[in-house]
């Protein structure tokens, strides 16, 4: 008789109770996975915002509200300042004017803006986008500053069914899709990248921008550079990568702490649920455990029966919870961004990575096993003499 078979039969001796217990733990797992995956994704997207501008200094208006130095409120200044900074501030290798527009809608539930527009001088594509290629090698990056060509992120293209060569309307202006970016970065996948002049026209920023990215000369002290920029232009702030991270880090820490707190509480509730149900189950089967003891079954065998049962509850609930939690994460992502749910399904393993699923599965099974320890100890203490005496 295999131990596993015995445990499965024991579990389903009380089908309703076991099913409810599994449902309870699965619900908790769903919540934990949804909260954990959504939070992790949110944090990843925020951190990704710095990936594009790694090692660079971001110059923005002093009054602008920024996330990772990306301005999410208006705060523009003259485009020519980029050239001025390059020529007049010591230690600047390159200064690129950028217009970064987020379509955040404060009236709706949007923690992450659904799309972005990045306007930049056409000769700076590579400097800004790095080695990001075009999907399937089809199309090209616009080469003419006054052209109405744009490249778009893959998620946007999928959502609206855009292909290379399509004419699309952005903020009331007709533009042509010259290429689709091949990228996994959340920010770029929802981005429309266009020549700076075109962006200025479309979003009514005549000759102005809302950020400048500054590449320091190699080895030049960055602190001196930011200080010099802010001294020269009192209405601008210059932020290094470290400073940008420092701005958002407390927020991310808080988010992480809340997420951890919620997960801990939910896991604790699951543990108590499993422990209570298993204690009841062990109490009902005291005669069985006492009989095993009378027959000379090793303590470890009795202990394993209970632990395997709770581990099975955890395994079944874990699989259900992770499946439901992953779907819930997609729904939340859709709600937070107003991007259609269907678009998230192909990227389910990016939103809920397999490693995270494995971690959660292990954690759920471990929590259930911990919940089984006290009932298992109780089971090993059942003595036939006491059980029979109590029965008569």
């Amino acid at each position: 008789m295999k131990l596993l078979t015995l445990c499965i039969r024991n579990l389903f001796r009380r089908k309703m109770r076991t099913s409810l217990c599994i449902a309870g733990v699965a619900l908790a797992a769903t919540f934990v996975v949804a909260v954990g995956a959504t939070t992790a994704r949110y944090v990843t997207v925020i951190r990704e915002m710095n990936v594009l501008f790694s090692g660079q200094i971001m110059v923005v208006s002093k009054s602008a509200v920024v996330i990772q130095a990306i301005p999410i409120t208006r705060g523009s200044f003259q485009e020519r300042l980029a050239e001025e900074i390059k020529t007049e501030i010591e230690g600047v290798e390159k200064a690129v004017p950028v217009l970064f527009i987020t379509s955040i809608n404060l009236d709706q539930l949007q923690l992450i803006p659904p799309n972005f527009t990045l306007g930049m001088p056409v000769e700076e594509w590579r400097f800004m986008l790095g080695p990001t290629p075009l999907k399937n090698g089809v199309g090209h990056f616009p080469t003419n500053e006054s052209s109405s060509e744009v490249v778009v992120g893959p998620s946007l293209a999928d959502q609206y069914g855009w292909v290379v060569g399509d004419n699309v309307t952005v903020n009331g202006y007709n533009v042509t899709v010259a290429g689709i970016l091949d990228t996994k970065l959340a920010i770029l996948s929802r981005c429309i990248v266009m020549p700076l002049k075109l962006a200025q026209t479309i979003y009514a920023y005549p000759n102005s921008v809302n950020m400048i990215t500054v590449k320091p000369v190699q080895g030049y002290p960055i602190a001196n550079l930011t200080e010099a920029i802010e001294k020269e232009y009192s209405y601008l702030k210059a932020l290094t990568e470290e400073e940008r991270n420092d701005i958002i880090q407390p927020v991310l820490d808080q988010v992480g702490l809340w997420s951890f707190g919620i997960q801990t509480v939910v896991f604790a509730i699951s543990l108590i649920l499993v422990m209570t149900v298993t204690l009841m189950s062990v109490s009902e089967r005291r005669r069985d455990f006492a009989t095993l003891d009378a027959m000379g079954a090793p303590i470890s065998y009795v202990f394993r029966i209970v632990l395997v049962e709770t581990a099975l509850i955890g395994a079944i609930a874990g699989v259900l919870g992770i499946a439901l939690g992953s779907i819930a994460s997609l729904i939340l992502a859709s709600l937070y961004t107003n991007i259609p749910l269907a678009l998230f399904f192909p990227s389910i393993f990016e939103i809920v990575p397999p490693l995270y699923m494995l971690e959660m599965f292990t954690a759920i099974v471990a929590v259930c096993c911990v919940g089984g320890i006290i009932p298992a100890i109780n089971a090993t203490r059942m003595r036939i003499a006491e059980v029979l005496r109590a029965e008569y």
Binding site: G296, I384, L388
Partner: protein, 224 residues
């Protein structure tokens, strides 16, 4: 297996009072004997059997099995003796309800580490021997009380024990079935040369026993 007890005493505290369930019992059981312990309910028969079966520890006194003082044995060693050298038959059968008859009989062999093939062959043989060869895959709830007790006896025999301890084995059975169970226990005692100790009210068991003891208020004496 030879068993000897010296001033065996077991007391229980119930509220403020102390009850002596077994009171200075001196008993000697020789190998292959069939011993019956009779007495009214609450006289301490089951407690005595639990002590002899190493399922309980005495408050005072000692139990020797083949001249080994069992009070010196660890819990694991006592379990090993129960598993490999003793078989238990209970009044209420105590079969595991989620296992069928065959699996219930296989269980002690599985616990003893025997391989699955050996377990299956022997369990089938034992069920055949107790007259249940045609119902190996029935669960306890699908068996009559007499059949359940037969399965319990087959289970008790699984590891070829030297001692069978049966606590009121016919207590829940009708007289015809009880007679069959007694015959089965007698056959085990004589055929397999196993020592049998039975606590009972059943006069029919008394008829086949080599020695009869009477238990009254925790004290044991030979029947006149």
């Amino acid at each position: 297996m030879e068993i000897k007890t010296e001033n065996l005493t077991r007391t229980f505290r119930i509220g403020p009072s102390t009850i002596k369930a077994v009171d200075k019992v001196n008993l000697e059981v020789k190998e292959t004997k069939f011993i019956a312990v009779v007495g009214p309910s609450g006289s301490g028969k089951s407690t005595l059997l639990n002590l002899i079966g190493l399922n309980d520890r005495p408050t005072h006194g000692k139990i020797f099995i083949d001249n080994t003082d069992t009070s010196l044995l660890s819990s694991a060693e006592r379990r090993k003796i129960r598993l490999l050298r003793m078989g238990f038959v209970f009044q209420t059968f105590n079969l595991l309800p989620m296992l069928n008859a065959l699996e219930n009989v296989e269980l002690p062999m599985a616990l003893a580490g025997k391989n699955e093939k050996e377990q299956r062959e022997k369990a089938l043989k034992l069920l055949e021997a107790v007259g249940l060869g045609n119902r190996p895959f029935h669960r306890p709830k699908e068996l009559s009380m007499g059949e359940m007790q037969r399965v319990a006896i087959a289970r008790a025999l699984a590891n070829d024990p030297e001692l069978i301890i049966a606590d009121e084995p016919t207590g829940e059975l009708d007289s015809k079935t009880a007679k069959e169970i007694i015959a089965l226990l007698y056959e085990i005692n004589r055929g397999k040369k196993a020592t049998v100790i039975v606590a009972t009210h059943d006069e029919k068991i008394v008829d086949v026993a080599d020695t009869i003891y009477v238990m009254e208020d925790g004290k044991l004496r030979l029947k006149d």
